[in-house]
Symmetry: C5
Subunit: 306 residues, 5 copies
């Protein structure tokens, strides 16, 4: 595995990590069609757990099979594949070594009666499955936020000690947050900063809107004359809020939508200096060839070719 | 113990498991009259704990004796016998090695004031009793669901590390679920998928009805033109939802009923590609000879002979 | 210590236990005037903790001294003495080896604001005090029942691994149970079955009344034509519910009452095949000579001589 | 260090303790002006934590300095000095070996919103600070009582295993207890018995009033014709309730008051056979010379000379 | 590193600490322009976590970069830099050995729905990052106070055993405390005493106002004729309440304000014998050169030169 200068520069930002963790970050950054560019496209598949199999896989029944997703990520030339314990176990041997995997360590589901998550795997599970990283979700505004931070802290410490990379999904929701606030600029930047402060290597947030949720933050944005008028500028501000770009941040675009809209998101992330795209339902709910074509275009965008 | 080609093909689906766990799955699949067929009939006896001894055993008082159930499972040629700690301890020596046992690790009872379970055994108890597997129950929709998932996660990790198989009873109840929802098609398929995602080797669900509980799932079923018009087709859809058939799924039929109804259930499971039947009260509450005759017919159905 | 054939037959029912635990069961069954008969009379003294010292010991002030109870149990020829940590510590050296002791591991008190217990000793405390067994109380119907089961499960596993016997006080109370339900036939039989299912070696329940509490259980009793018309038959039904007599079950009679009533209880337990009597306040609240005389009569009853 | 016959007789009552714990009990009983008498006067200083520094130390500002209390206890010839972690750490080296210390393991403060305590030290802290004992507070009637018992149980087991003595402050409060009930005769005797039952070596209670709180206890006192008409007789009854005098019990007199009243308390404790006095605010809130003179008189009372 | 006589005298007050902890206290006291004086100025940066990045860093965007703060603390000649896990990880290698760091072990954020904190790092994290100390925040009056004390107790014990110093932010809030009470004289002195009693090496409190919150404390202040009429005298009283000056206490001035006001605070702390200043937003929200000039003046004040 060749590690490019760009990747080496990124690794150098992870000043406190051991060689095992750096090697796993390097694996993700040096795999697939974006290898060496410092950019990443990741396939996440935990929607079956979160929303149920019919809502997730009925549009493209081949996706009921866990092998489908491994193969899709490999064939599309992605950087990594993230999923739940059972989904990764089901292909761990067949696809061993073919693509870096991220074990989602906690999950919720559509029946949950609180804004909370259940820890459904261990760091040692990630080790025995040969994963490059563990993934974890926090809900920064929920009543359970402080507990989720503590769970993450313990898992991240163990993962780092065992040479894994740590990916943190930072999804504001719950508490007194409005629905619009879940994608508000200030809330998104704060969520990314929290993830960086908690010690995540790779941060996952949603693309932010122009909305500002917190009155005191609004004042700071106005006083600081922070330009958030375009999606690309909002991405750039998220990167700034993530230790001035010292941390990898990948963005998601949310629910299924048209390809043009997806491409525009990718272009804005690229233009704003974001580290990449994490895209699930928009790929595996399309027919395979269509999904691969779309991912090919996205990759070209992140290569600066489209 | 001979391991058939069919069983070997099933074991190959468990890609991440160690030889100990595979050997225990093989033990269950290679025992009794269905040995080698890939099908299973399992006797579960935790009704004394769940509903009390009189409601469970008074119809057939011989069943008050824990030895009765071991012997029934052996004489009927079943694949495995599942029960609570005390019940297994009471026959552990007499029947050692005669039939694979599954230690039910958690239980509730008819006095419980929450939709929760109590962990009433340890993985090491299963080891010292020579069990082939541990069994666990989750209530996917209850307020305690996220906690139950976490308990299962810890137990399953330990059981797998110690070479045991893991059977997961996935019983939706509680929260906002309606009574009809407990056996709804979408809920049952989701519950099976959750069990697979949590890393279960063998999944236990109830036979689903045609009812669809969740509005958003209903849309997916209609859009996907998923045929759930017959019980056999519903079984097939549960198998699809269980990693496209990569996981063993056994079905239960619920409360005591007539033999014809039981046989029809068995035929539908078989026709739908289900892995087998788990049947308790319908056997041990009948006189022994009658139960054995009925189980013999069920086994013939799963052999494709009836 | 001679182990009689009767005791050997009882030990053989404990199929999963190690020689250490069997030896401690044998110690209790082979001590005192009932040694070798398979019957037991046990002195329990935790009333000072549960109800306070004045209510417990003022009627017979000699009983304020922990040594009094050791000596009473020894002089009366009982099988074992059960008490709290502090009470056993206070005589551990003076009476070392003179009588098997049971360390009560949890206790409540008359001020408790929930139907719960506090774990007030450890299994290692029992080991260092040379106890033959640990004792534990569950409240099967209370809101804390599932938690109490889990605490017992952990303690029982450790105790068995360390070669101790496990005595389980199964006292239904709390939740939706009526006062009459606390001694109802169905509830008592269920409680005994729960204790057996949880893996107890010796079960302690109250003598049941003819009352049936649970409507569904009532149907089962009527359908099964279970005869519970006399106290002896009710004892026999509790034994049946305790793994068809495979587990030792000792009965208590409750609050202080006249000797005739106590003797009748003992005769009914004996006639119903119960394993013995556990009798506290009715002994230590009487003058010592009177208590010893009464216990002598009770022992004669359990020898079949009275 | 010479151990008197009286002290040896006391140590012999601690039948289950290891030589380390007995040596530490002996250290406390063989230090100061009461060495060898079997009586103890202890200085406790946790009022700064419980009520704040101004209310505690402003009356005698020299007492703001942790060294002041060590020196006071030494110069007055007391048996032991009890305080919080920080207070003991602050003099641990200067006064090493000069006086036995008791580490208060839990504390509350005047802002607490529940009748609970916080565990603010560990047994290993006591070991590294060279303490003779650990101290712990329970609130027998509070909603947190069962939890406090469990915390004490774990700490006491560890302390005993590590050769420390265990002092238990048993302070009834909370729940349904009336204010008068906090010092009621029945409640105090019950609290002392609870402490003994929980395995404490030294019990600390308040001097009881003649009030009887619990109706059922009142009956027992009347039926038993227990004489509680004088403070000395009430002390004697507390000793009786503490395993018939087999446990050391020290009494406190509460808030600051006149010296005559303090001396009368001391005389009553001595007359009733109590083990000693634990006296804080009444000493360190007075000028040093005055406090030492008062303590000298108290010590004379416990020598039977005043 | 030279350790001055003044610093040696301070270290001697930490009687119970091991050489590792003393060396780390010495590192902080012997670094920067105040090295050897016994005074400290510390830069804390956890406002991004607590209030969000825009409110914290937008006024001076260079401060979005974690390296900025390390460099500011070094260039200004401060004693130590305190921050969260992620912030310290981001500069751990670049600035290794250049300035003592304090790992903030717990944090809250502006969305928290309770007066609680989340433990977001471990003592071992501090060790692997080469920190001199761990930092922790308690909210003495909140409903979570007793739990926070317990968390601190466990962390402090581990940190001391591993040779780290322990800094405790003692911030009264929540419960029945009024807003004015959060900086009341009595409350501040009590909070400092609590921190000392809990075993902190360095205590961080806010500068107190003349307000007295607790009626009983007010009486003690009046009876004791404690002079709290000037800020310097209030600082002196906090030092007195911190074991009569045996513990290092650093003060903060709160939100951003004018430099004159900051200098006056510094002069009052110095005049009252306080150990130093902890100053965050007032420095990093100003342009770098302005901040360094201001810190230079503050340092001169603590040298007694301004």
């Amino acid at each position: 595995m060749k590690v490019s200068k760009t990747v080496k520069a990124i690794l150098a930002q992870y000043e406190s990590d051991n060689p095992g963790t750096k090697a796993n970050l390097a694996r993700m950054l040096s795999t697939g069609k974006l290898a060496g560019t410092g950019k990443m496209v990741i396939l996440p598949v935990d929607q079956g757990f979160e929303h149920g199999p019919a809502r997730s896989f009925a549009p493209n029944p081949a996706a009921y099979d866990p092998h489908y997703h491994f193969q899709l990520a490999i064939d599309a030339g992605l950087n990594a594949y993230a999923s739940t314990l059972g989904m990764l176990e089901a292909g761990a041997d067949t696809f061993a070594g073919q693509i870096p995997t991220i074990l989602k360590m906690n999950s919720s589901n559509s029946w949950a009666t609180t804004k909370d998550q259940s820890v459904t795997a261990s760091v040692d599970d990630a080790i025995r499955l040969g994963c490059a990283a563990v993934g974890f979700t926090i809900y920064p505004c929920s009543d359970q936020a402080l507990d989720l931070f503590e769970e993450f802290t313990m898992i991240a410490e163990e993962a780092k000690a065992k040479g894994l990379a740590v990916v943190l999904w930072s999804y504001p929701r719950g508490g007194e947050l409005s629905k619009a606030g879940e994608t508000a600029m200030d809330v998104c930047a704060y969520s990314a900063h929290l993830a960086a402060s908690l010690g995540a290597h790779v941060i996952k947030v949603k693309l932010p809107s122009e909305h500002l949720e917190q009155p005191e933050a609004r004042k700071a944005y106005e006083a600081g004359k922070i330009d958030i008028s375009t999606q690309a500028k909002r991405v750039a501000h998220v990167m700034q809020s993530s230790f001035n770009g010292r941390r990898l941040v990948v963005f998601s675009g949310g629910a299924t939508k048209g390809t043009d809209s997806v491409y525009q998101d990718a272009r804005d992330i690229y233009a704003g200096g974001g580290s990449g795209f994490i895209i699930g339902r928009n790929t595996f709910q399309r027919p395979r060839e269509e999904a691969i074509a779309m991912l090919s275009n996205i990759i070209d965008i992140f290569k600066g070719k489209a």
